[in-house]
Amino acid sequence: MAVCIGVIAKENYPLYIRCAPNVENEVNFHFTVHTSLDVIEEKVASLGKSTSISTTDLREFYLGQLYPSEDYRIYGYVTNTKVKFVIVVEAANTQLRDNEVRSMFRRLHNAYTDVICNPFHVPGDKIKSKSFDSVASSMIVPERKKENPLVI
């Protein structure tokens, strides 16, 4: 499952970033997620170019894998309001299929919608919702330990 889940606002500042609990250097994930914004922007721009105006509403939110790194795979997802979701998956986790990632994004999107629907949530504020947290943490499993690679 995911090692890091990020929600990034329209203006590219982080609304929510959660990493797996045993991650040593959280800041690297921030770097990773931040750098992935480049690719997201590029992809969104190319999507916008390719699709006509009438179909913008129907466009695919899921952007697929953004870029691979040695250790992680990064997937992106952009909502209509240009809120970006980024899921970082360990590269070693080869069982995760594209469809599962999609469904994770969908769940994340629903949870985010719930957060936004909260009348006490100020749009643009950082997400501090317990329910969103629980959804996010359900997608994050403890990183597999290197010493025991056979245990999933």
């Binding site: 500042y13 921030h30 750098t35 480049d38 643009g124 950082k126 690679p149």
Partner: protein
């Protein structure tokens, strides 16, 4: 080298080998132009392709080949034999053996091609050949009997004839089809075999490598046929299979053959994309020597190759990442021992290899675009390709970096032998950098060089980084650029070149700031801080330390570290100072005034408490905390809160009541700018319209904030800069209807309203939150509040400052700064406006009294003394207040003393004593707290002034006829309360005609019912004519007199001049010319009975504004009469201040009405207005400049006086003098010891009883004296009435008395004439019976005013009248009496001075009747100037006839005034009455 399908050829030995080679070559060409279809099994799509073949001579080795690629699929036997015999002898055998050879090998097709040359055809034609005997026939019958297809006749192969071409085409088609069919069969069979082999994969003997080789054959086959997709599938399958095995191994299912891969890897050659097939790798796989790297290398190389062939670059770029990154995972899974760094080397080399390949392909693509050949077209744009290159470079960079770390090549690390050993090992594993034909440097060589030395490493590293950065930058991937830049910076830092790193880091910091990533920003800041520290840029380093020590994203330890750094370095700025925004360090949340008020006194002790929330990681001590102030002095004039340069709309409309005033002021301000059509605005309904809920928050108000109950103002923290689009002002307009003044319209004019009301984004970006606003503008701290040594602990802190109160004015708090050595933390603006006012209160002394004081009795005045903000320079504890009063005001004692503090607490304190010296009274003020008010109540006594009346009775009240008996009342108001107490019986003597009713009226407060006492209190009005003079105060005159009151105050003031003022007319013009008030020239004329005074000034008709403090006394009648009388004497119109409409002075006109009953009071006018005297009291205070205060005490006269002078009885000599004292105050008074003194009459008998006479409020009391005058006395005398006013004061033991004095004149002590009336037959006077009335007029003394006729007679006119219908007068009722004008000698009663007249009268009613009324008139003396203008001429002037005048009161004495005669009813009436009864 390209694979081609293999065909074999054989030929008859007799044939020309060269010819057949030529033919074979031609066949190849023919085939390559043939399109054939590859039909695939299992419903897979068929594939069209051109078969490319190579034709080899048949060899057994070839036939024995079982692989797909190199095995021959088709065999051709060429023969050009024309000769049957030859055929039979040799060729047949040859063919037979050839066929037999082929038959031993399955899956082959063959064909016999008979070349029919020209010769042959010619021969057959010539010889008429027998069809069955031709060679082809023979061959057919011998070998191809079942399958004639296997024979082909090639006609004239060397010639370009139609036949030749046709036969070639047919041959090609045949060969191609048959070959392909054969191939299909073979491949199909091979696939079956592969499948079977795959099914065996779980068997122990199964081995992936051999399987790989097996299946790869298919791929080769397909590749050979140009079917790249199926070929790719083969590799994909292999790749997936291998991956799956690895994954299974991870899951625990380790295939037995995998264990071979677990051996330590010793070689990490790069994949070699420049070769089509890496032979070495394949060989090692075949040999079972391959490591996982070899297998991966090989598979990916092949995949790449195939993908390049198909132009699927996208696929490559996707796969290459998996390829590059999965290896390490797989090695980890398989627990293969790899030297550290080996994988990095491999990845590095692979990356470079890929980059090289991609570049080549890219170049190729460009070339193909140009040449437009049909090479495969790539599915990727150049940009994408470049981007992929960049990411590859980036990966390579990272790997190189880690290699550098591993091998000790990083700057700052000493390379050890261990490092060198590693390098050697790594290089050994990489293999030799093989020579390449087309590529200059192989990746392995690059890596070798990079690892060879530090410099090379750096060079290589920077090269790669720059390449990657440049490309990313070019593609707009700035975040990736910053990532690399970060690493570069770190490298430079390690290299010891911080200046190089700075630019990268600044870019990075900016990027993270702009994107709002706090954690990354913190990291970048830390690096930048390190960089600046190395650069020894203290200023910048301090800034970073500051922002880092407040950064919550970094750990507490680090924050403390930076905090300490800041503290220790803040001294090292040299002469420079550093101003930092206070924002991240602390936030100033509120400002509190203690005590809770913003209007302060000068030098008062006030505090301002600033609440600061510190975010610092540890307590910080600042040298000072200052708040700069904007000082607006009291003389600057502008009320600061009335300059709304920016109007807060939110406060403007949201608050309801408080702002009403502001709105009005604002409105009026704007209206004043507009034309007059814009009337000023009455309160009008304001529309509560908010500009925008979100935007209203942004609006700034210049209104000072209000403090709450605790004196606190919560500050608003501005993170964003002030919105500049807000207009400077909004003007409001309104217009009123001209007719009815109703509001016609009202509106707001605002430019840029669209901007203001524009919808704002509902989600506020929080990017700015992380943007630190470091630079601040410092105010000048010339005027500031300061406190020293402030320690701020993390969390809430309260800092107390002393408010600046040593200056007067309006202070606005502007900026706050905390100084730490050379650095200061500044809150750039305190908002909302916090201001306070310092005012200086002057010492003040007030003196007042509740209402008008009443003279003569002890009353209290109040004095309030407030020291204000005055500070005694020499700290005297007590201070003396001294009063300077006029002598008539005496301060007696202090009755009450209390102190009122500013909090309205009033406490009574001990009474200070009054010290009275010659002209001063002083009080030692008690020492009080600051700003407390001392309230003193002082008993004082204002002495009454003598009450002077000087009335020239002769002039004022002329009466030629003696007044009839009258019952007169004091005033209409009090008349009903009077009732006669004693009624004198009808006085029988002297008998006289007419009915005269005597009445005795007692003037006393009978309404009180208590004061009626014995006869001493009763003033008896006898039947004699009385002269009743009422002290008049011409109130109507007063108003006009008031105006010029100040001008002749000295002349009129009785308080200052003991004698009645007697203004002369030559004094009148002495009105001070500089008097701005009024200049009035009144005129007076006597018009018959009226004295008319005209003020020929227009404003006379207007009421003159009273100036109450200055009007001290009413002009007395005395003064007035003096004036009027004078003016009467002089017929010239002299100015008199009398208002025209109010000065109708009635004179003695008894004949006009029933004078017998009431005579109106002679008072010309009555007034209730009090007469007042104002005294100046000068108070000298011991403080400051304004040491002397002049205040005024206004006193009211307590009593008013009237007197009457009446005859008593029938005696001409004895009279009663009555003085009525009226209390005009609303308090009860007590009078004692009334005394009357007349100037030259000693025979005075007091009729007053008790010593003390109480005088109720608004009541009056009468005092009477019996006066007997002797004939030797003069006619006039001055009288003086004294009485003591007694009042008590609680604090004085004795009664306090003051004397009230009434001075007046009494004249006509003796009458001129006496009238005695008598009726004949007064015994039997009957009703209706005529009788004669005898009137005897006796002159007692000279009358100087009387005109004397030429014959020395004085003429008197008498008139008998009765207006009440009691008497009827027959004949003449009036007549002239003549009397000699000779002097009367006293004591002689000469008959010549008696005149007698008789008038026939008849009583009309019966009973006791008064005599008819007899009025006397005299002729006034004429002056020589009185000429009759009509009668007289210039030669003979004729004097005017003398005028008839009444006598004044007291000049005529009626003997019979109380005398009544009894009138009997007529006789007939008596009988009639009897009968009636």
């Amino acid at each position: 080298m390209e694979n081609k399908a293999t065909l074999t050829y054989s030929f008859s030995e007799s044939g020309d080998e060269n010819l057949f080679l030529t033919l074979s070559t031609r066949l190849c060409d023919t085939l390559s132009n043939q399109t054939v279809e590859w039909r695939q099994t299992y419903g897979r799509a068929s594939h069209q392709f051109q078969l490319k073949v190579k034709i080899l001579p048949l060899a057994t080795a070839l036939l024995e080949r079982t692989d797909l690629v190199t095995r021959p699929y088709f065999h051709i036997f060429w023969t050009d034999c024309n000769d049957l015999d030859q055929y039979r002898s040799t060729i047949r055998t040859e063919i037979s053996s050839w066929v037999n050879t082929l038959k031993n090998y399955k899956d082959t097709e063959w064909m016999i091609v008979v070349v029919a040359g020209d010769i042959l055809s010619r021969l057959t034609k010539a010889k008429l050949p027998i069809p069955r005997m031709s060679i082809p026939d023979k061959v057919k019958s011998d070998f191809c009997s079942k399958n004639p297809e296997r024979l082909h006749i090639l006609h004239d192969p060397t010639k370009e004839t139609t036949k030749s071409t046709e036969s070639w085409t047919a041959l090609g088609l045949k060969v191609a089809n048959q070959t392909v069919r054969c191939m299909e069969v073979v491949v199909s069979k091979y696939e079956e075999r592969v499948r079977a082999e795959r099914e065996r994969r779980n068997e122990k003997s199964w081995d992936f490598c051999s399987y790989l080789i097996l299946q790869e054959e298919l791929a080769f086959m397909y590749e050979m046929l140009g079917m790249f997709s199926p070929a790719l599938v083969q590799y994909d399958e292999l790749d997936a299979m291998f991956t799956q095995y690895v994954l299974n191994a991870n899951a625990g299912d380790i295939a037995h053959w995998l264990s071979r891969f677990s051996e330590p890897i010793k070689h990490w050659h790069s994949m070699l994309l420049w070769k089509r097939i890496d032979g070495d790798a394949r060989r090692s796989i075949l040999e079972g020597q391959a490591s996982i790297i070899d297998i991966r290398n090989y598979l990916f190389t092949r995949l790449c190759h195939l993908l390049f062939e198909t132009g699927k670059l996208t696929e490559i770029t996707q796969r290459m990442h998996i390829f590059l990154h999965s290896l390490s995972t797989e090695i980890a899974i398989l627990e293969i021992t790899v030297p550290s760094g080996a994988i990095d080397c491999w990845v590095f080399m692979c990356c470079l290899e890929l980059v090289g390949a991609l570049c080549r392909k890219s170049q190729l693509q460009n070339e193909t675009d140009n040449t437009a050949t049909d090479n495969p077209c790539f599915d990727m744009s150049n940009e994408q390709l470049v981007l992929e290159n960049a990411s590859l470079w980036n990966i390579a960079r990272l790997k190189l970096y880690s290699l550098g770390e591993l091998c000790g090549l990083m700057p700052g690390i000493v390379t050890t032998s261990a490092h060198l050993q590693i390098v050697v090992d790594l290089l050994a594993g990489m293999g030799e950098g093989e020579e390449r034909g087309d590529v200059a440097t192989s990746p392995a060589l690059v890596l070798r060089e990079a690892l060879s030395s530090k410099n090379n490493f750096q060079k290589q590293y920077f090269e790669l980084s720059e390449l990657a950065m440049g490309t990313f930058k070019h593609m707009g991937h700035f975040r990736a650029v910053r990532c690399i830049g970060n690493d570069m910076a770190e490298f430079y830092l390690k290299l010891g070149e911080p200046a190089q790193a700075e630019n990268y880091l600044i870019d990075t910091v900016r990027m993270y700031e702009a994107d709002g990533w706090p954690l990354l920003l913190a990291k970048a800041n830390k690096m930048l801080a390190r960089c600046y520290k190395k650069m020894i840029n203290i200023r910048k380093y301090l800034r970073l330390c500051y922002s880092l020590m407040c950064d919550e994203m970094i750990s507490q330890e680090e924050r403390i570290f930076y905090c300490d750094e800041f503290k220790s370095l803040s001294t090292d700025l040299g002469d420079d100072t550093l101003a930092l925004n206070i924002h991240p360090l602390a936030s100033v949340t509120s400002i509190q005034f203690i005590p809770a008020e913003t209007s302060l006194r000068l030098n008062s002790n006030h505090h301002i408490v600033v609440t600061i929330n510190s975010n610092a990681p540890k307590p910080m001590t600042f040298q000072s905390l200052q708040i700069s102030l904007d000082h607006l002095g009291p003389d600057d004039g502008i009320e600061p809160h009335n300059i709304p340069d920016v109007i807060s709309l939110s406060s403007f409309f949201s608050r309801t009541s408080e702002d009403e005033a502001d709105v009005k002021s604002l409105l009026s301000r704007n209206f004043s700018h507009n034309s007059s059509a814009y009337n000023s605005l009455q309160p009008f309904r304001r529309h509560k319209r908010y500009a925008s809920t979100t935007s209203s928050r942004e609006f700034m108000s210049n209104q000072p904030a209000e403090i709450n109950d605790e004196g606190r103002i919560d500050l608003i923290h501005f993170q964003h800069s002030k919105p500049s689009k807000f207009p400077a002002s909004i003007s409001l307009h309104a217009q009123r209807d001209l007719q009815d003044g109703a509001l016609a319209w009202a509106g707001i004019t605002c430019r840029h309203a669209n901007d203001l009301l524009r919808r704002q984004d509902s989600s506020q970006s929080q990017v700015d939150k992380h943007r630190s606003t470091m630079s601040v503008t410092m105010e000048t701290y010339e005027c500031c509040l300061t406190t020293r040594q402030v320690t701020l602990n993390p969390g809430m802190n309260r800092v107390k400052l002393n408010a600046k109160t040593d200056l007067e004015g309006y202070f606005t708090l502007q900026q706050l700064r905390m100084s730490l050595h050379k650095t200061s933390f500044v809150l750039p603006r305190i908002y909302p406006l916090v201001s306070y006012q310092v005012s200086y209160l002057q010492p003040k002394v007030f003196m007042d009294h509740n209402e008008d004081l009443i003279s003569g009795i002890v009353q209290h005045i109040n004095i309030a003394v407030n020291k204000g903000d005055y500070v005694n320079p020499d700290q005297e504890s007590n201070s003396t207040l001294s009063f300077k009063t006029p002598p008539s005001v005496r301060l007696l004692c202090v009755t009450k003393c209390s102190v009122a503090t500013p909090d309205e607490d009033v406490s009574e304190i001990e009474k200070p004593s009054l010290v009275t010296s010659s002209d001063e009274t002083s009080i030692n003020l008690p020492s009080t707290s600051l700003h407390a008010t001392v309230l003193l109540k002082i008993a004082c006594l204002c002495l009454t002034t003598p009450y002077v009346q000087k009335l020239d009775v002769r002039k004022r009240h002329r009466r030629t006829h003696s007044a009839p008996p009258a019952t007169f009342s004091r005033s209409p108001k009090s008349a009903p309360r009077h009732k006669p107490i004693v009624e004198s019986p009808p006085n029988p003597s002297p008998p006289s005609d007419g009915d005269v009713t005597d009445s005795i009226v007692v003037h006393s407060d009978v309404a009180n019912g208590s004061d009626v006492t014995n006869g001493g209190d009763v003033a008896i009005t006898t039947s004699e004519p009385t002269l009743d003079v009422k002290q008049s105060r011409l109130s109507d005159l007063k108003d006009s007199i008031k105006k010029s009151r100040n001008n002749f105050k000295n002349k009129f003031s009785r308080a200052k001049s003991p004698k009645p003022a007697k203004p002369r007319f030559d004094d009148w013009p002495t009105v001070p010319p500089n008097d701005p008030d009024v200049i009035i020239t009144p005129s007076l004329r006597i018009n018959g009975d009226l004295i008319e005074v005209t003020l020929d000034d227009n404003d006379v008709t207007q009421p003159v504004a009273p100036s109450p403090s200055k009007i001290t006394e009413t002009v007395s009648m005395t003064s007035y009469s003096e004036m009027t009388s004078s003016s009467s004497d002089d017929e010239d119109c002299k100015p008199v201040l009398i208002r025209k409409h109010s000065s109708t002075l009635p004179r003695h006109t008894p004949s006009k009405s029933d004078v017998g009953l009431t005579i109106p009071p002679v008072t010309s006018a009555t007034s209730n207005s009090s007469s007042q005297i104002t005294y100046d009291v000068t108070i000298t205070t011991p403080w400051g400049d304004a040491s002397t205060v002049t205040s005024q005490i206004t006193c009211k006269r307590p009593v008013e006086f009237t007197h009457s002078w009446s005859f008593a009885g029938t005696d001409v000599v004895t009279r009663i003098l009555t003085v009525v004292v009226e209390n005009v105050t609303s308090s009860a008074l007590t009078l004692s010891e009334p005394k009357l003194s007349l100037s030259n009459i000693k025979d005075i008998t007091s009729l007053n009883g008790k010593k003390f006479r109480p005088l109720r409020a608004l009541g009056s009391s009468t005092f009477a004296w019996k006066v007997s005058s002797s004939p030797f006395n003069s006619l006039n005398t001055s009288a003086q009435f004294h009485a003591d006013l007694v009042s008590r004061c609680d604090d004085i033991s004795d009664d306090v008395t003051s004397t009230v004095t009434y001075q007046f004149e009494v004249d006509n002590l003796r009458p001129i004439y006496t009238i005695a009336c008598s009726v004949d037959d007064d015994e039997e006077l009957r009703n209706g019976v005529m009788t004669s009335l005898r009137v005897d007029v006796t002159r007692l003394r000279d009358d100087p005013d009387h005109e004397t006729t030429s014959n020395g007679q004085q003429l008197l006119m008498f008139q008998v009248m009765d207006t009440r219908g009691r008497w009827a007068v027959f004949g003449k009722s009036s007549g002239i009496l003549s009397m000699p004008a000779s002097r009367i000698r006293e004591s002689t009663h000469d008959a010549t001075h008696v005149a007698t007249a008789t008038v026939e009268v008849m009583p009309l009613v019966s009973g006791s009747l008064h005599m008819p009324y007899v009025l006397l008139h005299r002729f006034m003396k004429r002056r020589s100037s009185e000429f009759d203008e009509q009668l007289s001429s210039t030669q003979s002037p004729v004097l005017k006839p003398p005028r008839l005048r009444d006598f004044e009161r007291g000049e005529v004495f009626y003997h019979h005034v109380a005398h009544q005669v009894a009138v009997l009813p007529p006789q007939s009436d008596v009988t009639h009455c009897v009968t009636e009864l």
